[in-house]
Point group: D2
Chain length 255, copies 4
């Protein structure tokens, strides 16, 4: 069966979903269920994953069945991100993490200089680091060479829903990478996810596209199918594009 | 359950597949099976559906389970198309048909003048006419007003795999039509099919994209998922596109 | 010098402009001047070109210097269009005309069936017919075979400013045509015009893109340059697109 | 008159051209002339600008009329780039320079970490630094804050001719920058240059698109017009895009 591996763990679903922006934990859980995701990413500075006196995500999404991937959403410095993940590891034992160090509020693009620094610290600390990054292949290569276990280039600004803006860069990153490449941020609808997978990505991470659809549960299912569709199409090997028509039924030899 | 209706018949699969270009009837049958299609279209001038002394498609694809949709592939005049479908009706009893009258060999675009004439003759003859047409909304409207039961505008030249060239026109046709609109011809890979469905099409018809993939069976499955993904995304109501980022996790109020 | 010919007349400017939507005839004249156009198209049912007791376009745009191309904007039937152009010929002696027969108000796309009929009548009447048409190459061919002296496929709905929606179709029309092909309708900004010319069009016709720019006179000039740029780029033969980088300065042999 | 300023110098042409890949210095000079460029960029490690015993570019392109912008093409480390520009300053007195530090040979994308380091050294050294960079707005901001006098994000890989891959990023950089932003690398034909200018860029730098056209001199002229067209269109303020048609001539009140 088709699967991919990150930091020694094997996953069959190639869709990773976030847990923000939902009405409540019930809806979050239902969307995750519908998406078929095996990994959910959690903004540990924002979502309650440690205070048992408050409603906890774990009560709705079973961490024995679903892999929790703590992320550093909202961190604007490398230090902040590192501190956040250390605390999370203490609280929940999570070693596989998603690093994101934001550069500004308008784009929510990563600050790649801070990201490189923070990745280095986390790797030294023994974390398995999946890393949100720009779609710059040179930067992606540095992160891979450093030891990050997954490269997660953005498709478009977080929450923008614009889809993959630069397929050339995503392709270049895929071609050069030996670790999994997952498109992270910017997907808006099902075809965006399919396109990412058709380019050869190992997976897609999204949150807003599901949570802010009119019907999040149905959109979660749409995304499950879209990722499968894109993956299958990639593996199946698409037909070549042609400048002119080519008949389905030979025009010669007709009865 | 989500379904659509053509000429009084209800279908849950929104993927219609052709039967040309496969290695043999075994592969044809396996691809149809994997695609989940409930309708297959058959070039009756080309595929044996009447001579029991030769291998017949019916021996591989059961017409009791799958709706056969005879088409007039290879007809370059309206008269030719009408004669072809009359013969097919005599042979197989098919009343629901797909009309296509080609304009030239380079584009395999429909000759819309001949198509209008042929559609009128077929409708007078009592056929239920699904019609392959250009993506010109004015022409599509004429065909609908005339009584055609499904409008099937092209996405791109037949067999080109270029995907939807003019989403504006497809949208305009969908907005104005009261009968089902199915994109027919030009789809190349899974995301193309998803995009068609996200625009609000009722279905997608394809042949080459599946038959000429390196692995047709897997591509057939990809297309099944893609159509489901696009349909679900359309019904779920996608998030709006935004010019700037929008955080999944509120940036204020972080711990 | 580079030029093109329509109905025996030679033009060096490849930009044809409309005369609608301007503040007044002064602005109209200034925009035409800035555009460098040698042909202006005039909606003869709308613009005063015959009543000397009202302000006349001819008082601002000299018909001895600029070729007037009467059009049938606002005609929804072929008969109406034919009658309009006959009256125009009587009034102004114009024999070179632009036929447009609209299909509906939402798209302002041509009704190609009515267009074919009207073109035939006008040609029989001795008119030189430039014809606004859909981007369907099969229909374009019929119009050329009939004797139209220029094929004018739409880029996008009139006044939409969406730019060329289907470059594949425009290319197919250009490849097959022996008469000039001019993109008519839908251009929104300078690059749209350049793209049309780079595809190999003989010219571009526009109105709204200039008249509804914040500064119509400057936009008229932009369009003049854009058409020249696109034409020169087409004639110069662009570099091939490459999947990877290719250094401007050889990397080997550096000092 | 419309102009832009870099490091205290004012330029009216917004097209900067390279000097590589031409047949000989005669063709180089003719292309520069046709392009109307007031700045040419020179790979000082490659082009002879200092040895009077060899043919020198200065004998063909007069440095009193055209501003020479030495660049560090072919440098893969910041140190190398800094050394190259120091030597160039000694040789030719050039203080206004274009920094580029390449990351790999496949993409010729900048190594942004090395670029930041080198920019800092050059600025400390008193150079006016125009800087080739990725289209990452966060990195562009760092370079501007550091004191670079022009931000030069790439449109696509050098020499690829793919045009602007990520207009969202170029727009974000333009919106945030107080120094001139010039698209550098990746332009393939005239409309690509026009699109860059329509986004609000202050200028465009190119080499291969001109030098590798079949007719470089004509393409140089095409680019001159394209940059003017795009600039004028930007200043003129384009019409809004509309979902439906909008008649040039009001449909009501027709004669």
């Amino acid at each position: 069966e088709d699967s991919f591996q990150v930091a020694g763990r094997r996953f069959t679903s190639r869709l990773i979903v976030g847990t923000g922006k939902y009405k409540d934990f019930d809806e979050t859980a239902a969307a995750i269920e519908a998406s078929g995701a095996e990994i959910v990413t959690v903004a540990v500075r924002r979502v309650n994953v440690s205070d048992p006196n408050q409603p906890m995500l774990m009560d709705y999404v079973d961490p024995k069945k679903i892999t929790y991937l703590p992320n550093t959403a909202g961190c604007f410095t490398g230090q902040d991100a590192v501190r956040t993940l250390r605390l999370a590891r203490e609280a929940g034992g999570w070693n596989l993490v998603k690093l994101e160090v934001l550069g500004d509020q308008k784009t929510l693009y990563p600050d790649m200089a801070e990201t490189l620094t923070a990745a280095e610290m986390l790797l030294k600390d023994g974390f398995d680091v999946m890393v949100y990054c720009s779609d710059d292949p040179i930067m992606a290569k540095k992160l891979e060479d450093m030891g990050c276990c997954a490269i997660m280039p953005l498709a478009a600004p977080i929450g923008s829903g614009l889809g993959i803006q630069n397929p050339v860069n995503i392709r270049l990153i895929i071609e050069q990478s030996k670790v999994p490449v997952l498109v992270d941020a910017g997907v808006g609808t099902a075809s965006d996810a399919a396109i990412a997978m058709e380019l050869g990505c190992d997976g897609v991470l999204m949150n807003t596209a599901i949570a802010e659809a009119k019907d999040p549960i149905r959109m979660a299912r749409a995304m499950k199918y879209a990722v499968q569709a894109g993956r299958d199409a990639y593996l199946a090997g698409r037909m070549p594009r042609k400048k002119y028509a080519d008949p389905s039924s030979p025009l010669a030899g007709l009865i």
